[in-house]
């Protein structure tokens, strides 16, 4: 991980964008200021997680009067089932979702972007249409469906749809990117005897690494952050995800442990943050058009 970061930092920037010293100081100053703006609320949260409980809401400063990590311990065992379990559950669901989304959505996107077939535009419109329906109203019919399938209280309702490309967002995203890959590469592959499948697998996917990484990042983070799905489908606390655990942790009609909440929120961020750091390295230079006269 660290290796990845340092090597990315060490990689020489391309000539064209090489900046003069004053320019690069300006850029960095702006970026650092921007970062602070982005970070303040988060830093506040982290600091809240180590603050004495009664100080949390009475101060906007970032520096706690005393540091106290007990919130973490309290939060971790605050529920019957430890947060470790929730982390694991979330991880399983998120990783499966990443795989499902990347695989299934890229298949559909490839069809929409490259293959010719009757009714393509129609299906594309329908696909987009599915993006527009507020999920609150399909929730109950869907619940009934999964209930009849016997999937309620398992992770299946949260995972199986991803393997069936239920997330139109990613299909649409990939379509847009696939369309940026020169068609001549497909054609060259066709001449090399490739079936549509092989073109997809050997040409399309490797060349769309940046967007696949994007999809992976989003899938992971959104699933990690998802609350409503697990709320409806996971009843047994042993199967709760991290967000569900967090929310259960705060009960609005009884006392709540804000320190613990912030501690757990902070911990919750750690895996996604690292997932992000890791996968964003794949946002590499697009290379699709080198090796081509145009």
């Amino acid at each position: 991980m660290t290796n990845g970061i340092t090597s990315a930092i060490a990689a020489p920037p391309s000539d064209i964008t090489k900046r003069s010293l004053p320019a690069s100081i300006t850029v960095h100053t702006l970026l650092i200021l921007g970062s602070l703006l982005m970070l303040y609320p988060l830093l506040w949260m982290v600091s809240a997680s180590v603050r004495p409980e009664n100080e949390i809401f009475s101060s906007t400063s970032l520096i706690p009067s005393s540091i106290d990590f007990s919130s973490y311990l309290r939060g971790w065992v605050g529920l019957d089932i430890s947060f470790g379990r929730f982390f694991w559950n979330s991880l399983v669901i998120s990783v499966l979702t990443v795989i499902g989304n990347v695989v299934a959505c890229s298949l559909a996107a490839y069809a929409f972007a490259r293959l010719r077939f009757a009714g393509r535009n129609f299906w594309f419109a329908i696909m987009l249409g599915t993006l527009m329906i507020p999920y609150h109203v399909t929730l109950i019919p869907q619940y009934v469906l999964f209930l009849n399938l016997g999937w309620v209280n398992t992770i299946l309702p949260l995972v199986v749809p991803k393997f069936l490309a239920s997330d139109a967002f990613f299909i649409f995203l990939m379509v847009q990117f696939f369309r940026g890959i020169p068609r001549e590469l497909d054609e060259a592959a066709m001449m090399d005897g490739c079936s549509a499948w092989r073109i997809y697998w050997k040409i399309m996917l490797p060349l769309s690494l940046p967007v696949l990484a994007t999809a992976a990042i989003f899938s992971f983070i959104w699933t990690w952050d998802d609350f409503f799905g697990p709320l409806i489908y996971l009843n047994d606390m042993n199967t709760y995800t991290i967000q569900l655990g967090l929310r259960t942790f705060v009960d609005s009609t009884s006392a709540s442990d804000w320190g613990g909440l912030f501690a757990m929120s902070t911990l919750t961020l750690v895996p996604v943050f690292f997932f992000f750091l890791f996968f964003q390295r794949l946002l590499i230079e697009g290379i699709a058009t080198t090796g081509m006269k145009r």
Partner: protein
């Protein structure tokens, strides 16, 4: 394995711990029964429950709120329980009014797990600092308004006002109406107050606002109807409005010493605003395949002394007189305060109002909405009152 019971309730881990222990106890006495419990926070509880009910997958034993019992019972989601009484469900030593509170259209749908009452939370430290006496049971709104304004003016703490703005708080408004001989809703689900009361209500709060007795509108609007965002918890006011069973939690959040008192009197001699409210029920799902077992569990839950010991007053003061005695001796100082508060209401307490009709939830939002409009000066108290009555009438008509 002859029965598999599913339970669902909202609440925190301590509540879950107690509940689970009761379940374990029950299981040990009823071999062959398995029990699974689900619990969630209040906000998340209702969508999940609604989904499960709609999906015909409701748990057998459901924790119900006074607000929602009519919605669920009226729509056939809950099983009527009166036929089990008294043999299987023995509520003999329950307060009759509390049993009624769990009834809709003459059927019993919920067994009360505890009672509470609306209350004013006072930050006694803040009062002391400002050198102002705490209100007593006799204090009227007018007097309290003056005290609060003084406290604000004393300015001992930056940004702290005398009291929270309660104009949008339904329990407070209901209390006010009841003291004036009205109510929010009639038993048959009609509006039970008029434009006059509503307008005067808003007008009263406008005056408090002007005199600085209560917090400004934009600060009150931070209150999301929970403990954390209550102006007392946030240190914005020295007095706020809550329910007695929340007291322990309030105290936990606050460095200062808190106290409970009643809602103020409208006039020296007005009474009957408060009532002992079933804070929550256990209901049994009409979809349950193990109805008898579920009822038996509920009965055990409210009538078994061991269970009562395990549960304490975490869900409110037990309704069963016997159980109340079991738990009373085991409370600490802070825990005793709500108990004593409810016990000491005296003439301030009146009859339990009928369970709110469906649409009441919308009504509450409407009150809050119009109160805010008045508070932010968008609407005069007179118009606000009229709007409130119109709106609620409309909502009730729609059902």
């Amino acid at each position: 394995e002859d029965a598999r019971l599913r339970l669902i309730w909202w609440g925190s881990q301590p509540r879950a711990d107690r509940t689970n222990k009761v379940s374990d106890l029950y299981k040990s006495k009823n071999p062959g029964v398995s029990i699974t419990g689900e619990f969630l926070g209040w906000g998340d509880y209702w969508p999940r429950l609604a989904t499960q009910v709609a999906g015909k997958n409701a748990p057998d034993v459901i924790q119900m709120d006074y607000r929602y019992i009519v919605e669920y019972a009226g729509r056939g989601a809950l099983a009527p329980l009166e036929s089990y009484m008294p043999a299987k469900l023995n509520l003999d030593d329950f307060d009759k009014a509390q049993i009624e509170g769990g009834s809709v259209n003459g059927h019993l749908y919920g067994v009360s797990l505890g009672a509470n009452s609306a209350a004013t939370v006072l930050n006694t430290t803040a009062f002391q600092e400002a050198g102002i006496e705490l209100p007593t049971q006799a204090t009227t709104w007018e007097e309290f308004g003056k005290m609060a304004a003084e406290l604000t003016k004393a300015g001992k703490r930056k940004g702290m006002f005398g009291m929270a703005d309660g104009s949008g708080a339904e329990p407070l408004f209901e209390n006010y109406l009841r003291q004036r001989g009205k109510a929010l809703y009639t038993a048959d689900g009609k509006i039970a107050f008029g434009v006059e009361e509503a307008s005067e209500w808003f007008d009263m709060w406008n005056k408090f606002r002007e005199s600085g007795a209560c917090v400004p509108a934009d600060i009150q609007a931070l209150d999301k109807n929970d403990i954390e965002t209550n102006t007392v918890s946030l240190g914005k006011s020295a007095a706020g409005y809550a329910h007695s069973n929340q007291f322990v939690a309030y105290q936990q959040m606050n460095k200062d010493k808190l106290a409970l008192t009643n809602y103020m009197r409208v006039a020296k001699d007005s009474k009957g605003g408060h009532y002992r409210k079933p804070s929550m029920f256990f209901s049994v799902s009409s979809q349950s395949k193990v109805l008898d077992q579920a009822v038996d569990y509920v009965n055990f839950f409210v009538k078994n002394p061991d269970a009562a010991t395990l549960l304490g007053v975490e869900r409110g003061i037990p309704e069963s007189a016997a159980m109340r005695d079991v738990v009373a001796g085991k409370l600490d100082d802070v825990g005793k305060i709500p108990l004593e508060y409810v016990a000491g209401l005296g003439d301030l307490a009146g009859k339990l109002p009928p369970p709110p009709p469906s649409g009441a939830g919308e009504g509450e939002l409407t009150l809050r909405n119009i109160a805010e409009q008045v508070a932010f000066g968008q609407v005069t108290p007179a118009d606000g009152g009229k709007q409130l009555v119109d709106e609620i009438t409309r909502i009730l008509a729609r059902g």
